[in-house]
């Protein structure tokens, strides 16, 4: 556990303009470049959930692809558990779920897991048991023989997550894991991420859905125009040091009045927000959807 799951050091990735990677021969002829990632450094410690957040085109996916060995760095390095990201052995410990994954639509959920399991060297009973375990984990037992062409987006995302962890990797890389998924599916994926964390698996995720990152990540890096702008533990980044809040339950109007009076007496202290706390729309939706499910059962 001594080595970090991901260690990116001074990573720079430069593309020639147009279509990156599409034409190897053009490199150096057009002479026009775009710096997608600029001197980026960060670490994902073993067992933690790390979120890289940033707007579209900020360099998140490029960074991820370098870590996965799908791209070579122009400068700097990326290591996975101490191995160079380009080393095929590093991918023994990586599970990857791309954004909006399209697996082979002609395969069933079970066949998909079998295919990826075999690629990771699993076979026989070990593979079969692992498939059963994963289908149960991602709640797709009922759809195991259905072809992926008939899966919803959320189901695809969950089977994608299952294939990502088929070989019990030490690191799972998720690219926009809940993009386009409904709130119920999104919650399921979030729960799965937390489950992975409980199992000691490091998670490196990229997202622009900040609330989601906030719910699951231990550490967060904010990337913008290819550069790391802020990085650190989530609690530190999001807490406002000169503010404090507490929520009371069943407090009488009299007690509230007394608290207000007490605060007013203190110089330099002001109440910036008061009233009934509101639930989020997501929580409300999930509550309704959850009770509806129960009714149907």
């Amino acid at each position: 556990m001594s080595k970090p799951a991901v260690e990116v050091k001074n990573l720079t990735k430069v593309f020639n303009t147009g279509n990156p990677g599409a034409n190897v021969f053009k490199k150096g002829i057009t002479g026009s470049y775009v710096v997608a990632v600029d001197n980026l450094s960060f670490k994902v410690e073993a067992g933690e959930v790390y979120g890289l957040i940033g707007p579209n085109g900020s360099g998140k996916s490029t960074t991820m692809k370098v870590v996965l060995g799908l791209m070579a760095p122009t400068d700097g390095s990326a290591k996975v558990f101490g191995l160079d990201a380009g080393d095929v052995r590093a991918r023994n410990d990586i599970g990857y779920l791309p954004e909006n994954p399209y697996f082979y639509r002609h395969l069933s959920g079970e066949e998909t897991l079998k295919f990826y399991g075999k690629l990771c060297g699993l076979k026989g009973k070990v593979l079969k048991d692992r498939i059963d375990e994963l289908l149960d984990m991602v709640d797709l037992e009922g759809a195991r023989t259905r072809r992926l062409a008939g899966y919803s987006k959320g189901m695809l995302q969950r089977i994608g997550l299952a294939q990502a962890i088929i070989q019990r990797p030490g690191l799972v890389i998720l690219d926009e894991p809940t993009a386009g998924v409904d709130p119920v599916g999104s919650r399921q994926i979030r729960d799965l991420i937390l489950q992975l964390k409980e199992e000691g698996i490091s998670v490196f995720l990229c997202s622009h859905l900040l609330e989601q990152v906030q719910e699951v990540c231990d550490n967060v890096g904010i990337i913008f125009k290819g550069r790391m702008r802020r990085e650190g533990p989530l609690e530190e980044l999001v807490s406002i040091e000169n503010r404090y809040s507490f929520v009371l339950e069943n407090a009488s109007p009299k007690l509230i009045k007394e608290i207000e009076t007490l605060v007013e007496k203190e110089k330099g202290v002001t109440i910036t927000e008061k009233g009934n706390p509101r639930t989020t729309l997501e929580r409300l939706f999930l509550k309704i959807a959850g009770s509806k499910d129960q009714d149907e059962v």
Binding site: A22, V24, L68, L70, K118, L119, G160, Q167
Partner: protein, 304 residues
């Protein structure tokens, strides 16, 4: 708990089990994409050949024509299938991002390429096998019919001896279903293998399946002009250095697909020289190796 700290095992340069997994996946993919439907079209075509208007032909030339149409169509279907099926593989994996999930597993790029090619080759082999069987069955039926009617006709002529009847039947038998025709199917397989490997190479730098298909067909057509290029542009265009040079370059770069048309000769009854067939197999292996090597050179460092 994971075992990631202990998994720094050695990974072989080429794992046959991973290659096979990808090959098997490719086969399933192509079968479930219903690419095999072309076999039905072929079956209908071959069955229809027997009903063509042959009133002007002798029994032997009827069989010869049936063979030529069936085996010619088989060859055409095989190379077309090789191009289309192969062109659907890598560009599609890239478009669908399936390639990301495969290459993010401990899979070497060489394994991916070899697996894809192997999958296509096995499917081409299977389809050719099926088409060959269909041709032979059809030919056997037609041959049986023609021999019986010819026997009746010849036996009723008092001026024809038994030996001569046998001679005539032997002439018909020569055009009937013979095991030598398997070499014609083998020729089609060798040709389609080279076509598939060339298509894989093109698809490693192509931007879409359509581009891959068009470019492959273009090179395939040029590959049939080697003989013409040599005869007309290389030997007969005296003095025109540019044309001669361009012809030489083309000949060096593009495979000579015309050589693989020896299936036509086999079908029309040419004597099969085993050494030539072996040489063609050897040449095919060379093409496959070189195309795979260059594909790998491009694909190895390709960024996705």
């Amino acid at each position: 708990m994971t075992t990631f700290t202990e998994t720094k095992v050695k990974i072989p340069v080429l794992s046959l089990s991973r290659v096979w997994t990808i090959a098997a996946g490719t086969m399933t993919q192509l079968v479930r994409m219903k690419t095999f439907y072309f076999l039905l079209i072929f079956a209908v075509l071959v069955a229809g050949v027997g009903y063509l208007d042959f009133r002007l032909a002798t029994a032997a030339s009827q069989l010869e024509t049936i063979k030529k149409i069936s085996f010619g169509t088989m060859d055409l279907f095989a190379w077309l299938y090789a191009i289309v099926a192969t062109a659907l593989l890598i560009p599609r994996d890239l478009e669908d991002r399936t390639l990301y999930t495969i290459l993010s597993k401990p899979v070497r790029r060489v394994e991916y390429l070899v697996g894809k090619l192997l999958g296509v080759l096995i499917l081409i082999g299977l389809s050719l096998g099926l088409m060959f069987c269909l041709c032979m069955v059809m030919l056997a039926i037609k041959h049986g019919d023609l021999v019986s009617s010819e026997l009746i006709k010849l036996s009723s002529d008092p001026n024809i001896t038994q030996v001569e009847i046998e001679e005539q039947i032997a002439l018909i038998n020569e055009q009937g279903p013979r095991k030598e025709l398997g070499v014609a199917a083998l020729a089609s397989f060798l040709k389609s293998s080279v076509v598939a490997a060339m298509t894989i190479l093109i698809s490693t730098f192509a931007s879409s399946s359509l581009f891959t298909i068009i470019t492959s067909i273009f090179f395939f057509l040029i590959g049939h002009a080697h003989g013409m290029m040599t005869d007309y542009w290389l030997h007969k265009t005296e003095g025109n250095l540019v044309i001669r040079l361009a012809t030489k370059v083309m000949k060096l770069l593009i495979p000579d697909f015309q050589l693989y048309s020896f299936s036509e000769g086999v079908v029309t009854g040419a004597t099969i020289v085993p050494a030539v067939v072996w040489s063609m197999g050897f040449l095919t292996a060379g093409y496959l190796f070189i195309f795979l090597l260059i594909s790998l050179m491009i694909f190895m460092y390709k960024e996705f």
